[in-house]
Symmetry: D2
Subunit: 468 residues, 4 copies
């Protein structure tokens, strides 16, 4: 957290899961969502909960770990579990406190079991068929998780079509996939689709907070080796990934990664195993960035697909998903009414455009800050006033950051905000079907089609997607 916000003059008060009031000495309160992380995490009890904390690199840096910062965070993330001593104490305790808040208050069904102090690693659990190669919070929550998965299936017609059309071909027969993503209902649909296409999988979370415990339980109940729960420690986190990579009778040949942690761990700890990999699919900005660095450094010895930049992500996820998320997450976390609210939106890229549409549709007065002249001109032509943040900061009710830059909203701005101003950060989400297609492509590619480099999803696969 930004040191300038973690000062003795400011009081922090958690009012709901992921909603903090930061209280100024004069009583003014700023409502800070998810401590500046992606705001679409804000509601913890529903499937939309978990989206890409990993990729939450868009937040004003000063609002996050003042000391560590963006690069450091990545460095930390990529450090191996032995680096646990690295974590400073205060952060550790904050994490735990969040985790405990989450565990006590936010799970949908009877969350009492979340409360217990026993780490899942110390529990012995079996599913109803006696299978025990997993580690989740509470296997008994599986029924509720299954319902969430079924609901998610109805909203994912693309991947369900892939399942029904390609199910007979088993194009992933023989694929052994190490997966490392957020574990929510949508991911579960992906995982079960991969299995239906013939793959074997082992799966861990790419983030210590983002697992939907009930969904993880449902996957375990269905016989998938899942290692993940909400509120893992840093050490748990790496332990879980390790359990996916390294298991008896298991030589993985593919990696499906979101953030690059599984790739990193295997590369560092199991280099021999890494060489056997047929391909990597990576769906986050951060992870893709990492892959390009590896490639430049000549250390990437396998082909990788950059799913993050496929057209269905940039043109759809960013725009249309965020159009939905901004409303949903602000509503769930603050119960604010939008009509007549003044909102400043920092950044008019695809994410910003989507947010603006939604906010305008509900009667907000929207201002834009933008440094790119093309995007600024678009904002202007779309009927939004393009301003500097300082011009409007005293009057706005909501500040949304969607720039992808650091230091957009600073302590200095927050000092000027009015009482009750909501500060949040908008992010992006995933496109599982691209991931599945990329896996199929990489897995079935004739030897030599892809060198050890990073690729975009081939065009024909993109078209394939739309024909589903």
């Amino acid at each position: 957290m930004d040191n300038s916000l973690r000062t003795p003059d400011l009081t922090w008060e958690k009012v709901r899961s992921q909603v903090d009031h930061v209280i100024w000495p004069d009583g003014k309160r700023i409502i800070l969502l998810a401590e500046g992380r992606l705001v679409n995490l804000s509601c913890s009890s529903l499937p939309s909960f978990v989206v890409s904390i990993t990729a939450a690199t868009q937040m004003p840096e000063k609002l996050r770990d003042g000391m560590t910062g963006y690069k450091d965070r990545n460095r930390r993330r990529f450090s191996l579990p032995t680096a646990a001593r690295y974590m400073d104490k205060s952060q550790d305790s904050r994490r735990s406190s969040i985790a405990s808040v989450c565990s006590t208050s936010s799970s949908y069904t009877g969350s009492s079991s979340d409360d217990d102090d026993v780490s899942p690693r110390e529990k012995i659990q079996k599913n109803s068929k006696g299978f025990s190669d997993f580690c989740v919070r509470n296997i008994n929550q599986h029924a509720f998780g299954r319902r969430e998965i079924e609901i998610a299936e109805q909203e994912m017609p693309g991947i369900m079509a892939l399942r029904s059309r390609a199910g007979d071909d088993k194009p992933l027969k023989g694929a052994k996939i190490v997966g490392c993503t957020h574990i929510n209902a949508q991911t579960a649909v992906l995982i079960e689709t991969l299995a239906e296409l013939g793959a074997q999988v082992r799966w861990a979370a790419c983030n210590i907070y983002s697992t939907q415990n009930e969904v993880a339980a449902a996957l375990a109940e269905a016989g998938f080796p899942i290692f993940s729960w909400r509120g893992e420690t840093e050490e748990d986190f790496w332990w879980c990934i390790d359990k996916c990579v390294n298991a008896e009778n298991w030589q993985p040949n593919m990696i499906l990664d979101d953030g690059g942690d599984a790739t990193h761990l295997m590369l560092k700890k199991y280099p021999a195993m890494f060489k056997m990999i047929k391909g990597i699919v990576e769906e986050s900005v951060t992870g893709v960035h990492r892959l390009y660095q590896l490639s430049k450094a000549g250390k990437l010895t396998v082909p990788a697909m950059n799913v993050n930049d496929s057209v269905t992500k940039t043109k759809f996820d960013n725009l249309y998903s965020c159009r939905e998320s901004i409303i949903d997450s602000l509503k769930r976390s603050t119960d604010i009414m939008f009509g007549g609210k003044q909102v400043v939106l920092c950044g008019y890229g695809e994410v910003g455009k989507g947010c603006c549409q939604a906010l305008k549709g509900l009667g907000c007065v929207v201002y834009i800050t933008e440094i790119d002249p093309i995007c600024a001109l678009q904002a202007c032509m779309d009927g939004f006033r393009v301003v500097k943040l300082n011009e409007v900061i005293r009057n706005v009710d909501i500040v949304v950051s969607a720039t992808g830059n650091k230091n957009v909203v600073t302590r200095e701005h927050m000092d000027k905000m009015k009482n009750g101003c909501v500060v949040c950060n908008m992010g992006h989400s995933n496109t599982e079907i691209d991931v599945a297609l990329a896996l199929i492509e990489l897995f079935n590619a004739p030897h030599g089609r892809y060198k050890s480099d990073v690729y975009l999803l081939p065009k024909k696969m993109g078209m394939c997607l739309f024909r589903l």
Copy 2:
């Protein structure tokens, strides 16, 4: 015209028909549409040209006759032609100059004949069947006028339905109607519908500028006694109405009025004839106001229908018609691009709401000024910033007045406007079908149903309209 704009320090330059540049000593130009009258009059060459100059009482008074003002204007309008000495010289000459500009430049087809100095009253014209009971600019323009009427028919499904459904019943058989409205293609459709329903009519213009000469010619060619041309003098104006009221073998029994002039003239000059009237239909704010005054004073000896306040006018004309007019008239008169323009709209009633929708739809940044708290709150909840005019006047590109009040946009405001700012006034338009239904109702009402008072269109007639 507002005296404060008609000062030696300001230069006036007419750039198109009804578009003036008012030039400040420093070179700044304000683009003033229709000299502050309703802007949807701005384009003279097309059917949408003529809408309610009569009712153009919404304009900031200072922009109009500084001396005379709202009430005076009405007084003048209602004074009989003998009052010609009343008109001050400068105004008279301005009128002529506009008329001449109109006549030379704005008519669609070969308008050369408009130029001739011969007053229509001095010409002898006959239509192709030898009929000569009319007075229009040039009977030879009838073919183009007929095409305009046919185009208008396609956009008036309601009245065309009335024509086809009620045509056989001839519900207006025996009705002898004196009509006094703007004479444009839409009115022509109304006139011909009344005739198809069985009525006899004589028709004059309710405004000296608003006649579409070609349409008047087409009506004359079709055998209607029309007395109207663009650029009438004040004396011509009353002469034309008199020709409609007072003719051989003609005892009118109904009045269809827009502004109250025909009613006024008949009441004052032919009181005996007035008593024979079965009913009056009035479609303007001004005229209705006048009728209520007559009614209060006990001078209204016949029933009258207030068409102006029927739900189909207030809820539809004002909102939806103005939504179309604002764009159309600003485009035709200024060729301005809307995207990104800053617009301040004074007044968020039905007219203002309609304008806002259209402007927002084309990417304008819209500000609202509003004194009514309910409307102001609506503007706010609809996502518009509610401001005081002074706050934004220096920055806006377009100022639209839609308040119905006086002195909304003053010289003081204009001094602060930036170069090239467009100033216009939005108005309202007509609903001919209500007029037709009201006529039928009044004409066929059993004796005694309506006293000598002002009525709203009966509900069942309103329903009838929607069943067409």
Copy 3:
């Protein structure tokens, strides 16, 4: 519940609180929100939860108690508690089951105490100051409830302004108010405002499901005599109201009612006390309807304010609140994505207009059904296709009913819906500030200003509201 849905061929599955899947023999599922009650009740864990179940009379009747229907429900509501035998068994058990679902799953903070079988009436609870004149689920939940109230205060600037401006005058000094409304955070703000204005209050819930237990606890902790919890029985319901009406040293002189139950009980059971009342304020359609009936029957011996029909409710609540609610409630209950969804909205009144704006703003294709010709024409001019429900029922993803009529969406329609179609009903919400102003007006009115009749909020009070 509609008997035709409660047949052996259909399976019901509760997937979340207030979200049911109704499963057809062929596996098709219709997602039915709140069993056809107002959908903005759908999310139980947040302040927006509770809105007017009382008024939930707009739902297609066939989807509700097939046998009892609209009038019966009211009759039952107005029957005294002694009529407990009236309730048929099946309904009773359904209620309990819902109540228990609510109690186990939906409360935000540690809801375990909701589970206990002990009725609040049998518990002995005291707040931290030893005060015990209340009956709530669990006084210990007050801290969370207080936070919810504080959040609500930030979104209620009008009533907070009233508090700060009129707080010194104590215009309600001496008022003794019996309140009977939904008990949620917003109501709590109202209650505490009344107290700040000088009033004494006793408060009960107007609905057996709608109480936010934490908020009730917070009010009790603050020393208010609150008698209300989620999951009351019918007998509890009347007991609670009775506790508010009839207490030691308590002669109420005002009633603030939502649905008319407190009014009804006092009139029937304590007629002498009823005559001492200075005025009634009623905020629901049902309650107002009842008051008019009493007035006609000559039984209303005190003046009453019809808050339901004040302009700030019909023009704002219905339109703007529902614009927010439709999105929020559908999101929370179904996690559906709106972009590209086909939605049919039955009814284009204020509620329908608001819903359409929101849905269109998020990229839905919206169809309208409407029987009123003016509203239908408005829908058309606003760019929505006006259809008959049967034309589109096979293709739509969401069916929203906002008509106020019965039998809008029938079993026959549901048979044609596609798998996963969401069926919901949209309602309306409250305007507490009008209530407060009406109370002040009635309480301070000089003797004789108001007869024993039903009034609308006086105009000057309406203006007063906007000057806050």
Copy 4:
């Protein structure tokens, strides 16, 4: 014209300039704008008149020259004037008839002189300073043209900024430019800017219909050698370009082309002169296509800038300009009311997106046809129903083609349209400032920076544009 529309069973009736009624044997009329050319040409009397007839290659081919088609048209365009015999008689006469319609009816100011049969080539005209190196319709119309230019300047802040900032540097000093574009007020602003930057120019029209005669007169009056009038013959057309290329004491060193005709003529007829050219700037799709062909064939011996594909054109012109044009042109040509109209828009590219925004903003019900899956999905997510043309053709009021393909709207479709259906084609417009920057860049580029090839505007120039 499409042969299937030019059959004896169909009657053609011209109702306004560029508006035809095509009448079926049963009386049904289809309103065909600009005979299927770009509809933003439709109103001939105003500055917005002229946009890119040259590029009007997007129209359903069957609606145009059935025999010749797209490629043929280009071939014809590039054939030298000697190929006049190529033109088939019927087409020639059609052209003349249009030209004559234009000349008689559409010019704004006293257009009588357009009527005269004397070709401008046979007239001797001088401007007020005795300059006679030009050929326009009527030099006396210059005053009105100047006003149009001044109005245009106010709407072109970018190029005016370039004028004021770079005016002193004269970056085009020594440039001798042959220009060949539509000649309207906007182009005039460009031409005068080039002169202020130091260039000498000679200019011809790139289209025989598109010249605004008054603007050409104003340029001639200002001393520019302009060779252009509305209604040129094919021979006139090439004569005019030749007059620009080949003059005494004139060795041009740059070409500014729109369609490639000037380039073509110089290359073929004056190859030696062509080699002296420093660079070509081309702003149309057609011309750019031609340049790439020349480049591939090794015949392009000079560098060329492809202005057509600069981001400011594709992202702005296509989207935002068409958003304005669609409304403006339909209004001016048909006076249609948009609210409630059903519109099918073929193609959801940038042009289609812009049109949709505008139409939706005015209350149309919009359907989309689209063959590209990404664009179709976008239309869907934006809330438009994606259909096949045949599904809706019987119900729609307006058909807009914005696909860039051939045979989109066919006779078969037109047979199914309802009476009064409007058929139009949407196009694109220009970005003069890019043209000016490209000229500066090419003219000042150090020797060798650009090879003989086609380039996009360099990025730094793009940025330069936004800093203006």
